[in-house]
């Protein structure tokens, strides 16, 4: 199965470099080496149920890592362990370690609230705050944390919306309610909202699965622009999407006990052309999942 690796015509850096580096797990050339995630012997539970077992994975900074795999294999659980959203579920817990630039996010002195300012998240369904304007949505994460001068907020709003490729569409109606936007625009607003708190890592849980193809394309283009600025981990059901947008692909599946585990991780092109594991090949060629 031949797969074109990504629309790279935005072309700031050649696509081969991160792909080559990806497997080795060394920093992408040129990028500042922050936002590096290392997951070591991580297991995630819901009560007695083991959702992910013994996961070891290095996430390349300033690159897009796609998590693919069949439903129920723990993809979403995995990214929710990274920003400690997993533990909000009653009886949910995590074993092992998730390190961000060497520091364990589950360390006793780490405040999950502060952690989530460094590791942003975008959800499957666009979830702008319905009582807030577009402007207020973008700065929600900032304003609900501390007071900032007005001019500073204005700059953050414009900068975040520009980064999320939404500014031109909404610059004249920043005071309007966010629910008036289309689904795709709402999702880009949610991305802008996540970017406004200046995270290093961006977690995306199937961010385009609730959108139409055109809106999906815009999100994918946006990812292409953000990929050198943030460490992006994206869960997707859509393998073509993973092939188009990611530098590294990790394939998860589950065992007989329905516990998810990592089968294989590698540069996206290699994963889609010559995977090492038979399971990966079967999944990618549509034989199961």
């Amino acid at each position: 199965m031949a797969v074109e690796v990504g629309p790279r015509d935005s072309g700031s850096s050649p696509s081969e470099t991160p792909l080559a580096d990806g497997a080795a797990g060394s920093p992408v050339s040129g990028g500042s080496a922050t936002g590096r995630l290392s997951i070591e012997h991580m297991s995630a539970y819901y009560g007695a149920f083991c959702a992910i077992r013994d996961l070891n994975l290095e996430i390349v900074p300033q690159a897009v890592t796609a998590i693919i795999g069949p439903s129920g294999c723990g993809k979403s659980t995995f990214i929710r362990t990274i920003n400690r959203m997993h533990e909000l579920v009653p009886n949910a817990r995590v074993e092992g370690s998730v390190r961000l630039d060497g520091e364990d996010v589950y360390g006793p002195e780490v405040d999950p609230v502060s952690l989530r300012r460094v590791i942003g998240m975008v959800f499957q369904r666009p979830n702008p705050f319905p009582t807030m304007s577009i402007y207020d949505n973008v700065v929600a994460g900032i304003r609900l944390g501390a007071r900032r001068p007005r001019a500073e907020l204005d700059a953050i709003v414009e900068g975040s919306l520009r980064r999320a490729a939404l500014w031109e569409e909404v610059k004249d109606k920043l005071r309007q309610n966010a629910t008036a936007l289309s689904g795709g625009q709402q999702q880009r607003l949610c991305i802008a909202r996540a970017l406004a708190v200046e995270p290093e890592v961006l977690l995306m849980d199937e961010p385009a699965s609730a959108l139409d193809p055109i809106a999906t394309l815009r999100i994918e283009e946006l990812l292409g622009e953000l990929r050198r600025l943030y460490t992006i981990v994206i869960v997707t059901h859509n393998m073509q999407q993973a092939a188009r947008i990611s530098d590294v692909t990790a394939f998860f599946t589950m065992d007989e006990g329905r516990a998810g585990y990592l089968v294989e991780v590698g540069p996206t092109r290699q994963m889609f052309t010559s995977p090492t594991e038979q399971l990966t090949e079967d999944y990618i060629t549509g034989r199961f999942g």
């Binding site: 920003n83 959203m85 909000l88 009653p90 609230v113 502060s114 952690l115 989530r116 300012r117 460094v118 942003g120 998240m121 959800f123 369904r125 979830n127 702008p128 705050f129 319905p130 009582t131 929600a140 994460g141 609900l144 944390g145 629910t179 949610c190 909202r193 996540a194 708190v197």
Partner: protein, 298 residues
């Protein structure tokens, strides 16, 4: 290979006309039952319309400037309901100030922080309290806030009203908070917003209109309560502004007193006060419905 079908059922073997007749009977029965529901609805609506019409006709005639601005005459017959109007405003306001924050905060606890079992317990307690006859609330308040001081007082009246309001606010708010989608809580928490801030600025804020509905309904309910005030605020012929240690009048008490008097002038005043009270409750209810209708869904 031959396929054997089941024997056709007896009914399907009936002549066609007979089937049609059965249908007609069914239609008639359907019409009859539908008529029954309409009749029941009319029977229920009649008292409502009658009460509103009767109070409006008798009450409007009694409304005048004296009723609105003057207290009852110290001696003789006459004056107005000013003491009652001011008293109701004050006691209901103080009760609102006590019951609404307590109701909203406890509902936040129930919906956001309590486990399912604790939440069920508190919900049950609130339902029981809401079901307690209001005269019992009056007696209870009398025992703890009137007897020790040997003095009927307006503060006790407010507390009694607050006890009536609290479960209403708690239950309506809690139902509204449960409707706020969990994805909004997640969105906020994932932005690195503190838990309490998320609850206050996202969850409560999103449900604000609904919470306001509950508050207004509780206010309307408290404004119309008589029994909790009978032996707490007692009622008074004097205008009492701000003296919480003294008795205070209220519209329901005023109606109760004046309706029993043998003087038509006082009876008319009772009608006037009843009209004012009804108008207040109706306006609040209509305002609430107006707000909650045509509201977006989230």
């Amino acid at each position: 290979m031959a396929v054997t079908l089941d024997q056709p059922l007896a009914s399907s073997a009936l002549p066609r006309l007979l089937t049609l007749r059965t249908d007609r009977r069914r239609t008639l029965l359907d019409r009859f039952m539908r008529g029954l529901t309409v009749a029941a609805m009319v029977v229920c609506i009649i008292p409502l319309v009658a009460v509103i019409a009767y109070v409006t006709i008798n009450g409007l005639a009694a409304i005048n400037l004296d009723l609105l601005t003057k207290p009852p005459k110290a001696l003789g017959v006459g004056g107005g309901a000013a003491a009652a109007i001011l008293g109701s405003l004050q006691m209901v306001s103080l009760a609102t100030v006590m019951a609404v924050p307590a109701g909203i905060l406890s509902s936040v606890y129930v919906s956001e922080f309590a486990g399912t079992r604790k939440a069920a317990g508190i919900r049950f307690a609130a339902d029981v309290l809401a079901g307690v006859p209001s005269i019992l609330v009056g007696i209870f308040t009398f025992t703890i806030l009137v007897l020790p001081f040997q003095q009927y007082n307006a503060f006790a009246g407010s507390v009694a009203l607050a006890i009536i309001m609290w479960p209403i606010v708690l239950r309506t708010t809690e139902e509204i908070l449960a409707l706020v989608p969990g994805t909004l809580r997640e969105a906020s928490l994932a932005l690195g917003v503190q838990r309490w801030r998320t609850v206050l600025s996202i969850v409560v804020r999103t449900g604000f209109t609904g919470i306001l509905t509950g508050v207004m309904l509780a206010v309307a309910r408290a404004a119309g309560e008589t029994a909790p005030l009978l032996f707490t605020a007692l009622g008074s012929r004097l205008i009492n502004v701000g003296d919480w240690q003294r008795p205070m009048d209220a519209l329901p008490l005023f109606i109760y007193q004046n309706a029993r008097q043998p003087y038509p002038v006082l009876n008319a005043q009772a009608w006037g006060a009843a009209f004012l009270l009804m108008l207040f409750v109706l306006v609040v209810n209509i305002a609430v419905r107006g707000r909650s209708m045509g509201r977006r869904t989230y």
